[in-house]
């Protein structure tokens, strides 16, 4: 057994410019999920696009991860990744993501966890959940003009 798979890595260490896209170009939910996964493929973080897409869609079929106030956090466990992966996308125009409050989603966090890394996944999700409780923070991120600004906002928070 390799206990040392899990490194102490703060969420901020995962958020770099290459996993942030501003703005997203998609217009609907299936497209935006694909676009978010493609960010990770382009960044070299994910190789099996189809496996990830299947896992994300299976989770979305149970219930949409579109939350309130324009935030969506699609997430799942997936054999295609060995460590926690995150992609962030901003869609200032808003995309219908079947959210709880019916409002269009503008700030997307795609989170993929390895099946044997439940702890880091839960911790990262909890950290994101705390962050997005701040409407001011969400507004600032949604207004960001580029990936660097988004990363800076996360570092400064």
């Amino acid at each position: 057994m390799n206990i040392q798979e899990k490194c102490r890595m703060a969420l901020i260490d995962l958020i770099t410019e290459k996993i942030v896209k501003v703005p997203l170009v998609s217009n609907d939910k299936p497209e935006v999920i694909r676009e978010l996964i493609q960010i990770l493929v382009d960044a070299g973080e994910v190789s099996d696009f189809d496996a990830v897409l299947k896992a994300v869609n299976e989770r979305e079929e149970k219930q949409s991860t579109g939350l309130e106030e324009g935030v969506a956090i699609p997430h799942c466990k997936c054999d295609a990744v060995s460590t926690l992966k995150i992609a962030i996308g901003i869609a200032p125009q808003g995309i219908d993501f079947n959210s709880i409050d019916g409002k269009p989603s503008k700030l997307f966090f795609l989170m993929l966890a390895s099946p044997n890394q439940a702890g880091p996944h839960v911790e990262a999700l909890a950290e994101i959940a705390k962050l997005v409780r701040s409407k001011a923070f969400c507004r600032a991120v949604i207004s960001a003009e580029n990936a660097m600004e988004v990363v800076e906002l996360f570092r400064g928070e």
């Binding site: 899990k6 901020i12 989770r59 702890g119 999700l125």
Partner: protein
């Protein structure tokens, strides 16, 4: 004079740093004859928050809880193997709840003299200062705390232990 340290607890969270802390705690227990407890906490508080925020579904929460319990067993068994190799006995303790609160409670219940933890992650943002569970435990426990650093040196000490 008898040793002031009779009970040591090491907090294990599955990180490399916590394994290094466990190796050091095993050495300390061997040298001092202190009783050694290894503790892992399933962070059910975080999962409850995720359920409340509707990020998790009920069955998803249960699935993750089950996964984290299994992770905890694996981590504690690994640390137990490290201790057994050096002839040190270790009590494995798995708890559930808010991580820092559980650590504080176990330290009190078990009348721990020394809490051993792994090196803390670098502070990268303001929220790290508020939300790092290990750091919060360090601040709140009523016993002395040892933060273990220098993985290579600790490994040498552990390896040299007969």
């Amino acid at each position: 004079m008898s040793s002031p340290i009779k009970k040591i607890m090491v907090y294990i969270d599955g990180t490399e740093q916590s394994v290094t802390a466990a190796q050091y705690a095993i050495c300390l227990a061997s040298f001092s004859g202190a009783e050694l407890i290894a503790c892992y906490v399933v962070n059910t508080r975080a999962m409850e928050d995720l359920l409340k925020a509707r990020i998790f579904l009920q069955d998803e929460q249960l699935e993750y809880e089950h996964d984290m319990e299994a992770d905890g067993e694996r981590y504690l068994n690994y640390v137990n193997e490290l201790a057994v190799k050096k002839g040190v006995s270790i009590v494995r303790k798995q708890s559930r709840g808010s991580v820092h609160k559980e650590i504080v409670d176990i330290v009190e219940q078990e009348t721990i003299d020394l809490l051993v933890v792994g090196e803390l992650s670098r502070i990268r943002s303001r929220r790290d200062e508020f939300y790092d569970e290990t750091e919060r435990a360090i601040r709140m426990v009523n016993c002395s705390v040892l933060v273990v650093k220098d993985e290579d040196r600790v490994w040498e000490i552990y390896e040299s232990l007969v």
